[in-house]
Each structure stands twice: as C-alpha cells, then as structure tokens.
C-alpha cells in the first residue's frame, strides 16, 4: 500500500517484521528468526548480510512524505535490484544518452588538456633550458597532443550526432527541414574560423597581432 502510493520515489523498503523480505531476491532473504534477533539487538557482532549490503534508517525525498523517517531495516542493494532502476528501453533514448556521455568524456579530456597547456605547460616550457626542453618536449607534447586532438574529434562528432537529433525533432515539429540550421551552422562557423585564422597570423594578419591577441 505504502509502496504503491510512493511510486518511484521509494528508495527502500519499510515493512513490519514478517513481511520485510518478501520482495527481495533469494540471496537477501533471511529467516524471520534471525531478523527478530537483529531487531532485539542480539548478535550485533555477527554480520547477517553480505558486506556490500548497507542497512539503516531511510528517508524519502518526495515532498508529500518529506518528514517521514522509517527506522527499520533497509536493504538498499536488494531494493535497487528489485524495482528502483527504470532504464529507458527504447533504442533512441539510449543511443542519445550514449552520445551525450561520450560528449562529456571527450569534452573533459579535451578541455582539461587545453587548460593544462594554457595554465601550466606554456609557462613551464619557457623556463626550461634548450637541452632539457629537447628531452621533455617531444615525449610530453606528442602524448598530450594525441589525446588532445582525438578527444576534440570525439567531442565534436558525438555532439553533432546529439544536436542533429534535436534539430531534426524541432524541424519536424515545426513542419520544416533540418537543412537550414545545419547548413547555416557549418557555413557561418567555418567562415568565422577562417576569419579568425587570418586575423591571428603572427605579424602578417590584416590586424595588428597584439590587437588580435588581446
């Protein structure tokens, strides 16, 4: 009854002795006698659950029952395996989540190395004498730049795959084609890059290099 009302906000089981373990997998079921002993405080030094099963009081995040706490045995792992993970089953949702996940991982690798280059590496390499630099730079930079450049590709491809699906669904809701946003995206941003490239050519760009690099 309680569980039914709580729906998916339930994070554990609270049940009177006798029925508490009925929904758990076989591995976590205990005889009633053992459970009662535990409640009465017997055998506290004896482990009755595997190490990875945590027990303790549980509170509920749902506002309706915000203030309720159930001081009863909670088998968190058992509860999780039974009903509290609802993986979306349709293929597209999972695929898009995979793209997003890869996008995060790639993006963190890429920008993490970028911040390393700008905040640590550039000032550090300036301090090295030519001999040390000859030893440090090839090994350090070829490794760092390998992750740097491939992470950028992973990030951009996964991001484009995800963004493509947003564009497609927006366009189909609006009765339009996704060609517009896609074409303007690549056209505008590639031109912007070319302009930036031109203006950042050291000493030769159409703008003064110090002005450009402000």
């Amino acid at each position: 009854m309680l569980r039914h009302e709580l729906g998916r906000t339930t994070i554990g089981y609270s049940s009177p002795a006798g029925s508490y373990n009925t929904a758990l997998p076989q591995a976590f079921q205990l005889p009633e006698e053992q459970y009662s002993q535990e409640r009465r405080g017997f055998g506290r030094n004896q482990r009755r659950f595997p190490d990875f099963v945590k027990t303790g009081p549980v509170s509920f995040p749902s506002p309706a029952i915000y203030n309720l706490q159930f001081h009863t045995r909670v088998v968190e792992l058992g509860a999780l395996t039974v009903s509290h993970i609802n993986l979306p089953s349709d293929f597209n949702t999972n695929l898009l989540m995979l793209f997003r996940w890869l996008h995060f991982i790639g993006g963190i690798t890429w920008l993490g190395l970028l911040y390393f280059f700008n905040l640590v590496n550039v000032p550090f390499l300036k301090e090295l004498d030519p001999t040390t630099k000859g030893k440090v730079l090839p090994g350090l930079m070829s490794r760092a730049l390998w992750w740097f450049r491939w992470a950028s590709v992973l990030t951009v491809l996964a991001g484009l795959a995800y963004w493509g699906s947003i564009v497609a669904s927006d366009a189909s809701n609006g009765g339009a084609s996704s060609g517009g946003p896609m074409a303007t995206f690549f056209l505008i941003w590639t031109i912007a890059w070319a302009l930036m490239y031109a203006c950042l050519i050291p000493g030769k760009g159409p703008f003064n290099k110090d002005l450009c690099s402000l």
Binding site: P138, L145, R149, I166, P181, F185, Y197, I201
Partner: protein, 109 residues
Amino acid sequence: MIYTVIVVAASWLFLHFNDHGWESNRLLSIGIGGGMGWMMMLNVWGVIWRGQKKIIQWTADNAANGTAIPEKAKYLARQTFLMSRANFVLSFPLLFLMGASSHYPMFGK
C-alpha cells in the same frame, strides 16, 4: 578582442537565419556553443597540431642529431600559442551555452 567581434557576429547571424519560431532553446544554444566547438576543433587540427608536430619533430632532431631548429619554429610556436589561447577563451562561453541549452532558456522557445 577581434575574435570576440567575429564570434558575436557569427552568433548573431546564426540566430538571424534560424528565427522561424520552431527552433528550440536547445537548438539555438548548442548551435552557437557548438559553433565555437567547431571552430576550436578546426583550430586544433588546422593550426595547433599542424604547427606542433613540426616543432616536436625539429626539437627531437635537434636533441638527437644536433640539427638546427629552423627559424619557422618561432613563427609556428607563436601561432599555435595564439590559437591555443583563443580556444582557452572560447571554451568559457562554450561551456556556458552547453549548460544553458538544457538549463537556462535564453533563446527561442
């Protein structure tokens, strides 16, 4: 400064051409933030890696055989540094717009 102007102009153009009413905040926000990401990837492959692989090769040759490092190395080092710093700066609005796409409806619907 100059690339701030370029990026703002490009963002404005993107919003201008995608203003039919059906474009969502997510589309527009990623359309701009992702555009910066696209520029950054072109920088990585078109400038930073192209320059750095030569510098790495020359430095390694110099350390191994004493071959002189060509004058061009200074130019390439300066250029890759400028582009790397441009990417550093671009990454901040990029991350803001990526977060805004789902959590900060500032464009469109």
